[in-house]
Symmetry: C2
Subunit: 194 residues, 2 copies
DNA sequence: ATTAAATGAGACAAAAATGTCTCATGTCAA
DNA sequence: TTGACATGAGACATTTTTGTCTCATTTAAT
């Protein structure tokens, strides 16, 4: 529970920023401050400029993801098991992930770019291992798999927000969808052959 | 090829709007006009206000999706086959779909809301039919499936844009991922049982 | 050649957003 | 109580964005 919320003014602001900007990409700083129950002046005092706000939100998102991933892989041996655990663990911070994906312009920030690069590297290594262990179709590009991973989190965020699903089921469904697809499996035939 | 591009100034502007706003949610009208190779005054003359621009972009996206879906289901009998065809056909307009999903605020426009509602209804009926025909896991909520469908398109858009994949393969992969998942299938076991 | 339609150039005002002040107020700890 | 500290209230200048003019210039059709 360290990074998820700390109830400091800064954390309230960062949380509100994710929520508001996901709903209205053009929201003003005044909108965000209001959603955090705080005046705009305070936002400037505590965080600084808009650029710094976006940067902090992104860094916080990456921290959350890091923490979730680290806890998730503990005690798992097979790469595919670690990956499934990661997907499930990332669902609760799907909003933050979503924010990262919805705002490609902030990837230009060197600090952000470095972190994202690091995340991708770790994930790619894990996917490669899962492929070697025969659990993931080798002909699917890593970039596609990672994009799909984020996509499923995105789906989880949307559905959970719409209130159509319990947060707990969302993790299960995300893992099922990404790794198993939505169809019933019959006699082991796959769509791509192989 | 009717709605995809017509080379009129309006179409150039709408196309540029999708592209620029997906990359920079806070892009100004000047940015969009410039990306369309046109002056901002022309944007105002041809389209009108920012609100009208967003509305037109959304409507155009929905038209493209309609057209793609209609063509896709032709001659297909089983619901699952129609769904797969739809997913494949939607990949080329993934950018427009993405725009719709990234901008929840425009769903409040009644005209847009009605169209989206209609799309969802059609898709839900198709999914229900696929469930009845035994091709889709009944325990996965429709809302989840539709969100995942858009999510996979989203993944397709990202990956294609990053240049990591040919546009043609993207359709195949999207269908594979959504319906079959990314894992190798062994002895027909599914994650959720059932 | 002439006309009509579309676009650019340039300017303009109004609105909105941003960032920074100062001063007042409240709150918590020593 | 006092004194640091965080926040609110209010104002301010600056910048950006938006929407609308007028008047050229181009282009295509007649």
């Amino acid at each position: 529970m360290s990074t998820l919320q700390n109830n400091t003014t800064k954390d309230k602001l960062l949380e509100a920023a994710v929520r508001v900007l996901n709903a209205q990409p053009r929201a003003s700083l005044a909108d965000i401050a209001e959603a955090a129950g705080v005046k705009r002046v305070t936002l400037h005092r505590v965080i600084g400029t808009r650029e710094e706000l976006l940067r902090d939100v992104a860094l916080r998102a990456l921290e959350q993801m890091d923490e979730a991933c680290l806890n998730a892989v503990k005690g798992k041996r097979k790469a595919i098991e670690q990956l499934k655990a990661i997907v499930g663990a990332l669902v609760p911070c799907a909003d933050s992930c979503h924010f990262l994906w919805k705002n490609p312009d902030i990837w230009q920030e060197p600090e952000i770019a470095r972190e994202i690069e690091r995340h991708n590297t770790v994930l790619c290594e894990l996917v490669d291992r899962a492929k070697q262990e025969g659990d993931i179709l080798s002909l699917i590009p890593n970039s596609w798999i990672i994009a799909s991973l984020d996509a499923v989190l995105y789906a989880a965020a949307s559905t959970a927000k719409a209130g159509n699903i319990a947060s707990n089921d969302a993790s299960t469904l995300a893992v099922q969808t990404l790794f198993g697809g939505i169809t019933k499996k019959v006699k082991g035939a796959t769509l791509l052959g192989a």
